[in-house]
């Protein structure tokens, strides 16, 4: 009897140990499988590390020697009120080529340390009238020549520079949000609460980079003056795979999208460039080339996440597509 009991308890213990061993292994497998799936979906997106292949054949990650070599000398808020001398920056967006790839939005968000839903450059789906097809409409800040936002700022926290760029000095902004209500193009966004990224004091603040942002202040597209000072295109223009965004200097009369470099006046004349809501008298510095002879069918642009397509649910065309069950 006793032996039986001892044997039984021994077996029980063994079983328990086996069970424990199996369950740990299963959990570990499950966890690694699960994390594997996550890792597979998420590309290396930290932006601060780069992967290199050493001659010994090992792939390592190092801190990206920040590719952005700005600033050589820190541009203080006071200095940022003077622009880059003798320049008048202008942007041309070719609506015939835009297929809502959203590289511009994502690169801008990465470089300005924005969250997923904070967008300096928004892609709208515009349908001018019922008969026309809608088109993808990238909308940065237009850096208007008669900016209504600058007019109404009570402290001069937003200002228009000599090089056409309208910047926001987040160290002077008191957060009255008058400029947000004043901008007819809804180009400005407000920091509604404190975020951890605001505490990163590694880089001294400059209105030209807008990093780090602060709670209770305004931010918006800034035409990337830090890139311009290095002779590079703004991030959105650089990252667009279709070359939709041209950027340049009106004084030089030359704009480029990274691959093509053309005369600005010629481009506008030949392609009938226009400005959005011209009649409001804001005199924007972003010109659009009409969405004719499109390079891509509109549907290509719907190849994005569900929640982004949800944004366009009020456009007539999207409503029709939904009715037909195509989306």
């Amino acid at each position: 009897m006793k032996n039986n009991k001892i044997e039984k308890s021994g077996t029980n213990r063994r079983n328990f140990l086996r069970l424990g061993f199996i369950s740990t292994i299963t959990v570990a497998t499950g966890a690694s499988l699960f994390s594997n799936l996550i890792i597979e979906e998420e590309p290396d997106s930290s932006g601060e590390k780069m992967r290199l292949l050493t001659p010994e054949g090992k792939i390592v990650e190092v801190d990206a020697t920040y590719i952005n070599k700005y600033p050589e000398a820190h541009i203080t808020p006071a200095e940022s009120r003077k622009g880059i001398p003798d320049r008048k920056f202008v942007m041309v967006i070719d609506l015939a080529k835009c297929k809502n790839a959203r590289n511009c939005v994502e690169t801008c968000q990465k470089e300005h340390q924005l969250d997923y839903n904070e967008e300096f450059l928004k892609i709208q789906l515009m349908q001018d009238n019922k008969e026309a097809d809608p088109y993808w409409f990238p909308k940065p800040c237009y850096h208007c020549d008669s900016p209504p936002c600058v007019t109404v700022c009570p402290t001069g926290a937003t200002f228009k520079r000599e090089d056409n760029i309208v910047l926001v000095d987040a160290e002077r902004c008191i957060g009255c949000k008058f400029c947000v209500t004043s901008c007819p193009y809804s180009a400005r966004i407000f920091n509604w609460g404190h975020k951890e990224k605001f505490d990163n004091k590694d880089i001294p603040y400059s209105p030209e980079t807008g990093i780090p942002a602060t709670e209770g202040t305004i931010m918006k597209c800034d035409f990337c003056p830090d890139m311009l000072r290095q002779g590079k295109l703004p991030h959105c223009a650089q990252s667009c795979p279709m070359g939709v965004i041209y950027f340049g200097d009106k004084n030089e009369d030359i704009v480029t999208n990274g691959e093509e470099t053309v005369r600005f006046s010629k481009l506008i004349k030949e392609r009938s460039g226009y400005r959005h809501l011209e009649h409001l008298g804001t005199k924007p510095n972003v010109y659009y080339l009409p969405a004719v002879n499109r390079q891509f069918p509109l549907e290509r642009g719907f190849n994005v996440d569900e929640d982004i397509i949800e944004r366009y649910k009020n456009v007539e065309y999207v409503k029709d597509l939904k009715k037909q069950g195509k989306i």
Binding site: K122, K177, F178, S182, Y185, S186, E215, L280, E310
Partner: protein, 447 residues
């Protein structure tokens, strides 16, 4: 008329209001303080967590705070306008309500700007408004206007307090704390009611009245320009400034009527605040409600008739999402007072006060419908999925602070009433002196 005797009589009549606080009054004060404490807590939460705990988001960046701001400041400016105008009327009836109106003017001009401060993202940088002002900005104009107006209304109120302080100072057996008596002495600045002093006081009061009228109009115009000088559909209207002035008067007269009713009832001042006051105020309310209805109709009718795309979108939201607010604000809020006040038979004190309540509520909703729907229908269509970024819903923080503001207004009113009699004693004496001179003159003429 023995002036000294008359003064003693009046002090006897009004001193209970200053000396005693009834139990109900004390309870009310406790309730009001409780509401204000909730408001302070809400403000603390907002200060710590940032504006993300309000309902405001990137498209509707202005919400209930600015609505309360323009509402209260409107009451204040209309009060200033009315007192200024009242000063030039002759008649005994004006004295009873003059102080009430002036106090309303000053208090709402204190409470109103507090709301706009709540809307500012960085309160720690408020001084930048004074170090780095930009005079092209309508907000700078507004700040200058409000500050100037606040000081003006304060001085104007104080000018009417001086003779009463003098009377109270000279009353030896007033049962008020010592410090209060000292305050009366200091603030009465040696006013002995001599003829030359009286004349001087009248002169500066008269000039101030003219100034107050002008300032009230200019200052509220500047506030209307904060909206109408932008490009937004629904705001960029040419008649916004006159519209705001009429609307301000509408709510102002409404609040005055409500205050008259409450003060008359609670402090049993039926002798001084009589039916004629209500009927007079009621007729003024009638005229203003007709004007207000006319202006509102002009605004919306022109938009509807010419149906520009953005105007049409705006009107669509008014008739769908804000349907009930629209009916309450612009139909009921205008028509009910007109109906009540138009017919002589319907004009009783209670019904006039009811009309005033409807007017005030309707006007607050009207302000809401001016600010929010425009921000919800911008030129570039809102293409977002987050509901709080598409539509505005106020949170409890904003409501708590709104009620706290109203409670603060009432509390301050009560405290002032414990400090100075609500019916100006010197006014009554002035009036009786005037009548006496008139009868003396007529008897002299007869003789």
């Amino acid at each position: 008329m023995d002036i000294i005797k008359r003064k003693k009589e009046l002090v006897k009549e009004f001193s209970p209001m200053l000396e005693k606080t009834s139990l109900i009054s004390k309870l009310w004060i406790v309730v009001l303080i409780a509401i204000i404490s909730v408001g302070i807590y809400a403000f603390y939460l907002q200060f710590i967590n940032g504006h993300k705990i309000t309902g405001m988001r990137d498209n509707v960046v202005w919400g209930i705070y600015i609505i309360n701001f323009i509402f209260f400041v409107g009451i204040s400016y209309s009060g200033a306008f009315i007192t200024g105008v009242l000063h030039f009327f002759k008649g005994s009836w004006k004295y009873s309500i003059a102080r009430i109106i002036k106090i309303i003017t000053v208090l709402s001009l204190i409470v109103g700007p507090i709301f706009i401060l709540l809307c500012i993202g960085r309160l720690d940088r408020l001084h930048y408004l004074f170090i780095y002002p930009r005079i092209q900005s309508p907000i700078t104009w507004d700040i200058i206007a409000i500050m100037t107006d606040l000081i003006g209304c304060f001085i104007y109120l104080y000018l009417t307090f001086i003779p009463d302080f003098a009377i109270l100072r000279d009353t030896a057996d007033l049962k008020v704390p010592r410090w209060q008596k000292n305050v009366y002495k200091v603030l009465a600045i040696g006013y002995q009611d001599t003829a030359s002093q009286r004349e001087r006081l009248h002169k500066i009061t008269e000039i101030m009245s003219v100034m107050i009228i002008a300032m009230a109009i200019v200052a509220y115009t500047v506030l209307a320009w904060i909206f109408s000088l932008t490009l937004q559909p629904g705001w960029n209207s040419t008649i916004f400034a006159p519209y705001f002035i009429i609307a301000g008067l509408y709510s102002g007269v409404g609040v005055i009527i409500i205050s008259m009713y409450l003060i008359r009832k609670i402090y049993k001042l039926e002798k001084y605040i009589r039916k004629i006051h209500f009927i007079g105020a009621g007729i003024v309310l009638l005229i203003i409600s007709l004007l207000f209805g006319y202006f509102t109709f002009s605004e919306y009718f022109a938009k509807w008739f010419s149906h520009k795309t953005n105007d049409e979108e705006l009107l669509n939201t008014l008739f769908s999402r804000y349907f009930w607010e629209f009916i309450l604000a612009n139909y009921i809020g205008v028509l009910v007072p007109i109906v009540i006040l138009f017919f002589k038979k319907l004009r009783t004190i209670k019904s006039i006060t009811f009309a005033a309540v409807i007017a005030v509520l309707g006007l607050w909703l009207n302000r809401y419908l001016i600010v929010i729907p425009t921000l919800e229908t911008p030129y570039i269509p809102i293409q977002d999925t987050r509901p709080e970024f598409i539509f505005y819903t106020a949170t409890w923080i904003e409501y708590a602070l709104s009620f706290a503001g109203i409670a603060a207004f009432i509390l301050m009113f009560k405290l002032i009433m414990k400090f100075v009699p609500i019916i100006p004693m010197s006014g009554i004496i002035d009036q009786e002196r005037c009548e006496e001179n008139k009868t003396n003159n007529t008897t002299n003429q007869v003789q």
